[in-house]
């Protein structure tokens, strides 16, 4: 019933008009204002889309560790550990066979849904160790301390090789966007120019220090008190400590700069180094500065991205190239369990490639379908051009705005119809039939879009509802433990089921966006079969999942849920493996055919 409850903006608008068709008597006309109600409805849907996307991100992440496995719970670990689960989405057919071989066995469990304390590290290891499969995405998760260590290593290395101060090495590395090889090569060739470009111009020796210079007047604040402390970097532009403090505070706090803060002097390209900065500002600014510095390391590297989950400080390294994004959907899972696409940073959108996702979201957000709806469902008053939706009655239309009376069928003057009331039998001009053809076309296009959109939105909504149930599940599991005397580990099957529902719905959701752009070939039928199988399994599981606690305690239902959970996960892997395979081999055709041509060129 929850599925029926949600009507999208488009659907509800259509329903209203079809309902009103039932009122046969009055010939009423609605003059639709240029900004139709429908648009509002569409906006509302979109707003909730983004909201849910944000809110669900954590949730989906927690579903990352959903395992496909046989139903018997067991507390011991299995050789097939959960670490490679995110990979299984892309696994090839041989793996599928392997996994189904495992099916009757009892060597798997649900205990891995809870994170193990060392998960982060074991996962990293696992990724490295894994032999390369066709669609695997190799990536590594880095924690803040790893990122710091990497930077320090690079700085130390450059410091040793080029024999320059560590601060200078850091500035040079940032200047070269952390490309160590290029830095060393360029430095060997023409060290003077490299230093100059990086803002390290001709240098005097000695550590940075504050000085009191008699007769000094600060050019910024015009202060010339005796004993005023001042500072100058190696460029010699000297300002008082207060001005420096203000200046750096503005740059760091307000403008979020760190790696490229220049000397306050006009046109001076000298870059503020970490040691000088520590001398000039308080502890809070220093901390912020170093945070921002660390951040530039990740941001400067094309192969690194921050995990977009709220409050997550990890970064992910992945070698995927932009040009590969039409053939691969590089889904990665952070140690915080957030699953996202490395290509576009959006939450996991397998099997749809990034460009398709971008198009789909844009389509859902913009008004292109509003225009389609208007052209499919309305006509314009021949006199004042107000957009009119006929919401019932006969063909005798009276425009509410200009009181023009005309025939809905032929759009001609009503007065010419004489006595043939409620029935236009005038000869159809060609223009009339052309107009109807165009209308029919836009009706089909709208219906096609709505077909996929409704299913897409439905899974999004259902995932949200399943999530609500998941919150109750935790309570249920505790109740179950006390009601049935089951142990903690024995009730984890509900957790697994919930996570499977989230992951599978996320996938299903995107299969509909994917299908909208998919051209019709033989493969499409197979894809649709896979989609149908997964959808049926998910809906069945969702239904079982909603049962009251007493029934859940029943061991027969428990086995059924566990069976269904593993079946859902399996169907998902099959679907994803199939789509990824075809994507990689570029055998899909698109609707329209030239959908991605702009991307390839």
């Amino acid at each position: 019933m929850k599925r029926n409850a949600q009507l999208t903006g488009f659907a509800s608008a259509i329903r209203i008009s079809s309902l009103s068709d039932e009122f046969k008597h009055p010939s009423t006309i609605d003059t639709i204002p240029p900004q139709s109600k429908k648009r509002k409805a569409a906006e509302a849907t979109v707003a909730s889309d983004t909201l849910s996307a944000q809110r669900s991100s954590k949730r989906i992440a927690s579903a990352a560790a959903v395992k496909e496995g046989p139903p018997t719970p067991l507390t011991t670990g299995s050789p097939m550990d959960s670490d490679d689960e995110f990979m299984s989405g892309m696994s090839s057919d041989e793996d599928m066979l392997q996994e189904s071989d495992n099916d009757d066995g009892s060597a798997d469990d649900f205990g891995f849904d809870e994170p193990e304390p060392d998960l982060g590290y074991s996962q990293k290891g696992a990724v490295e160790k894994q032999e390369k499969r066709k669609f695997d995405i190799n990536y590594k998760v880095y924690h803040p301390e790893d990122i710091q260590a990497q930077q320090d290593d690079l700085i130390d290395e450059v410091n040793m090789i080029l024999d320059i101060r560590k601060e200078d090495a850091a500035i040079l590395l940032r200047h070269f966007r952390w490309n160590k090889e290029r830095l060393i090569e360029d430095y060997m060739d023409r060290s003077k120019k490299v230093l100059e470009d990086a803002g390290l111009g001709p240098s005097m020796t000695g550590p940075p220090k504050l000085e009191v210079i008699p007769g000094f007047m600060c050019d910024i604040c015009c202060e010339d008190e005796k004993g005023l402390q001042s500072f100058a970097m190696k460029c010699g532009h000297r300002y008082c400590i207060n001005c420096y403090n203000q200046y750096l505070g503005q740059k760091i706090k307000e403008e979020g700069e760190a790696a490229r803060i220049q000397c306050p002097a006009d046109g001076c390209k000298r870059i503020m180094d970490a040691k000088s900065l520590d001398l000039l500002v308080g502890a809070d600014l220093q901390t912020r500065y170093h945070e921002l510095l660390t951040r530039t390391y990740v941001e400067d590297k094309d192969q690194m991205k921050w995990c977009p989950a709220p409050d997550c400080t990890n970064a992910i390294e992945c070698g995927i190239k932009k040009k590969d994004l039409l053939r691969v959907v590089p889904t990665v899972a952070c140690d915080c369990k957030h699953r996202f696409c490395f290509g576009c940073i959006l939450a996991d959108h397998q099997p749809a490639p990034c460009e398709l996702v971008k198009m789909w979201l844009k389509k859902c957000a913009d008004d292109s379908e509003t225009a389609n709806w208007i052209s499919a469902n309305t006509k314009e008053c021949p006199r004042c051009n107000s957009t009119i939706e006929k919401n019932g009655g006969c063909n005798h239309m009276t425009c509410r705005k200009c009181k023009h009376e005309f025939c809905w069928m032929c759009m001609g003057l009503w007065s010419e119809h004489g006595t043939s009331w409620y029935n236009c039998n005038r000869f159809e001009e060609k223009s009339g039939s052309d107009a109807r053809d165009a209308q029919a076309k836009s009706r089909v296009s709208l219906e096609r879009y709505l077909h996929y959109y409704n299913r897409y939105a439905n899974h999004e909504q259902s995932a949200k509802l399943d999530k609500d149930i998941y919150h109750k599940t935790e309570k249920k599991m505790i109740q179950l433990q006390s009601a049935s005397g089951m142990s903690w580990i024995e009730v984890q099957y509900l957790n697994s089921a919930s996570q499977a529902l989230q992951t599978c719905r996320q996938t299903l959701k995107w299969t509909y966006a994917f299908a909208y752009y998919l051209g019709k070939v033989n493969l499409t039928a197979m894809f649709e079969d896979n989609q149908k199988d997964l959808e049926m399994a998910v809906e069945a599981l969702s239904e079982m999942f909603e049962k009251p606690v007493q029934e859940l305690a029943d061991s027969k239902l428990k086995v059924e849920i566990m069976d269904k959970t593993s079946y859902c996960n399996k169907r998902r892997v099959i679907l994803l493996a199939d789509t990824a395979d075809n994507l990689a081999n570029e055998v899909w055709t698109w609707h329209p055919k030239d959908l991605f041509d702009y991307f390839k060129s």
């Binding site: 050019d219 910024i220 015009c222 503005q250 002097a265």
Partner: protein
């Protein structure tokens, strides 16, 4: 007060002497000053014209740049320039946080604007001027100017 002392010094210097073509109109308090500028050479676009500049200073001046705009009065039009909108907003990197340096001052800004006008040969407004003027509600400093043409 950070800005006060600095502005006091600047004002004292301005009262002493100003470069040719720049005159102080009012400087009451340290929040808003008005200055007039003229283009000194024979550039036909700006010949025999005087333009009025309004400077607004924040508390953090000179760490932050002042807000500088041309103002329109009966005998002071807004100069025509591909980087000056018809509402007086100036698109100059010097006045944004990126291009600003705290050692710049009112006098140096006036001189920069003089030379920006002197060097111009295009008798035109920026692209999309009408739309920008009609829709802009932001303070000049918050606008991300896209520098269409850095050669001007």
């Amino acid at each position: 007060m950070f800005a006060t002392k600095r502005l006091g010094k600047e004002l004292a210097k301005i009262h002493g002497s100003l470069p040719p073509g720049i005159t102080l109109v009012t400087a009451e308090g340290f929040q808003e000053w008005l200055l007039d500028i003229k283009v000194l050479d024979e550039n036909p676009i700006y010949l025999n014209q005087t333009y009025r500049l309004k400077f607004k200073f924040s508390q953090s001046y000179p760490i932050e740049p002042p807000e500088v705009t041309f103002v329109n009065t009966t005998d002071r039009p807004i100069p025509i320039h591909p980087h000056i909108y018809s509402n007086g907003i100036i698109c100059l990197d010097l006045l944004g946080t990126q291009g600003w340096s705290p050692v710049q001052n009112v006098e140096s800004i006036c001189m920069s604007l003089q030379s920006m006008l002197t060097g111009n040969t295009k008798n035109e407004r920026p692209e999309g001027d009408a739309q920008f003027v009609a829709s802009n509600r932001r303070r000049p400093r918050d606008i991300d100017f896209y520098y269409h043409d850095n050669t001007v």
